[in-house]
């Protein structure tokens, strides 16, 4: 029994040490900083420092990985007291603007120099994005929450620094199309760790 346990531990250790010696299966958890563009940037000009993303990648060749992406980015801005006119109606007050973006994508990455510790990559994701825009004035609020078709090009790198772990840094551009909200786009800088298995 002890031999079997020792063998299992040895196998696990070996599988971890081999991670990132080339493009290998991994899961990454990253902290996201995001900046809205277009309509989203006009609505909330402040950058978002509240966000995270999770990526799973399965290596199909030495250089090509496919997988899924999920992220949650929270944009927020408090607008000073101001007046907003819609036709004959005018509203004045302090406005709190929130926008949550939750993209869920299938993705593919091409990894360069996959046999080195420093591995640059480019990737593309396609899927859906849940947008939730909430505008609060006084005790009232208006909310729009469409699901949109989404795309995400990405560039970044993995840097292998220990057994089974790597630093991952990526720059992404999420775009959501369709729905009443119109096109929603934002840049994201993601930094975190990738864990192989």
């Amino acid at each position: 029994m002890k031999k079997i346990i020792a063998l299992l531990i040895f196998c696990s250790f070996m599988s971890m040490t081999s991670v990132f010696s080339q493009a290998e299966n991994h899961i990454s958890i990253q902290y996201d900083m995001s900046f809205g563009t277009g309509d989203l940037g006009d609505y909330i000009s402040a950058g978002s420092f509240r966000g995270a993303s999770v990526q799973y990648r399965n290596a199909v060749t030495d250089n090509v990985l496919v997988g899924i992406d999920a992220a949650w980015n929270v944009f927020y801005e408090k607008r000073d007291y101001d007046s907003y006119t819609y036709g004959t109606m005018t509203l004045s007050g302090v406005q709190y603007r929130y926008q949550n973006q939750v993209p869920l994508l299938v993705a593919a990455d091409y990894m360069f120099r996959s046999d080195k510790d420093f591995k640059p990559y480019i990737g593309l994701g396609i899927g859906t994005m849940y947008s939730e825009r909430n505008t609060q004035m006084g005790i009232w609020y208006v909310e729009e929450n469409p699901w949109q078709f989404a795309m995400k090009p990405e560039v970044g790198f993995l840097y292998n620094f220990s057994f089974g772990s790597a630093l991952k840094l990526g720059i992404k551009y999420y775009t959501g199309f369709g729905g009443d909200l119109g096109t929603q786009g934002y840049f994201t800088i993601s930094t975190g760790f990738a864990f192989g298995f």
């Binding site: 995270a52 408090k78 005018t90 007050g93 089974g164």
Partner: protein
């Protein structure tokens, strides 16, 4: 690998605690709404009548029952603020409502909302009380609303016709905060430049 799991848990906890929430003051909840009838010729009018008491809307009023009014000195201070704004826009207040071009009708009301968290079932029977939670947690908030309507009436109208409406709404702090009310009245007239008769 165990260490990796701790990293993951740490990052997730960090995320959960990051939802934005600014400190909010009572005055941050103040909202001023105005609307008007675009076809009405305000510039061609010049006089208005206004009651000397502001009615408090407290529910349905039975026949013969007198309504509640805003207490003094707040009543006079609010009416004076409305009058000074109307005067600045070129309007003249008259005592005879029938002779006036328009009537300005102010009113106020409050609305309290109670929000229950959980464990209210404990009130039914002690048997339903959970571990250590013997009383329901709840909170409540009260909002105050003041409205002003400019109403046109006379032979040219089938019935009194509202040509301008203003609503001021905000969370009440528990004490009469006249500054918030008078500032909101100023704002209501400021964002209604079409009322100017000059």
């Amino acid at each position: 690998m165990k260490k990796n799991i701790f990293y993951l848990i740490g990052i997730i906890l960090l995320m959960v605690s990051c939802y934005p929430d600014d400190t909010m003051y009572y005055e941050d909840t103040d909202l001023v709404y105005t609307n008007y009838t675009e076809t009405f010729d305000f510039a061609g009018k010049g006089t208005y009548a206004m009651p000397d008491k502001i009615v408090k809307v407290t529910g349905e009023l039975a026949e013969g029952q007198t309504p509640e009014y805003v207490q003094e000195p707040y009543n006079t201070q609010i009416l004076d603020k409305i009058e000074s704004n109307m005067t600045a826009l070129g309007w003249t207040k008259v005592n005879d409502a029938e002779a006036a071009d328009l009537a300005l009708m102010p009113a106020v009301w409050t609305n309290t909302t109670v929000v229950y968290w959980y464990d209210y079932w404990c009130w039914y029977d002690y048997y339903y009380c959970g571990w250590g939670y013997y009383y329901p947690y709840y909170t409540s908030y009260t909002t105050g609303t003041m409205v002003m309507f400019l109403v046109a009436s006379g032979d040219e109208y089938i019935e009194p016709f509202n040509v301008w409406s203003a609503a001021i709404n905000g969370l009440l702090s528990g004490s009469y905060d006249l500054t918030r009310v008078t500032q909101a009245i100023d704002q209501a007239f400021k964002q209604s430049p079409y009322l100017d008769t000059k």
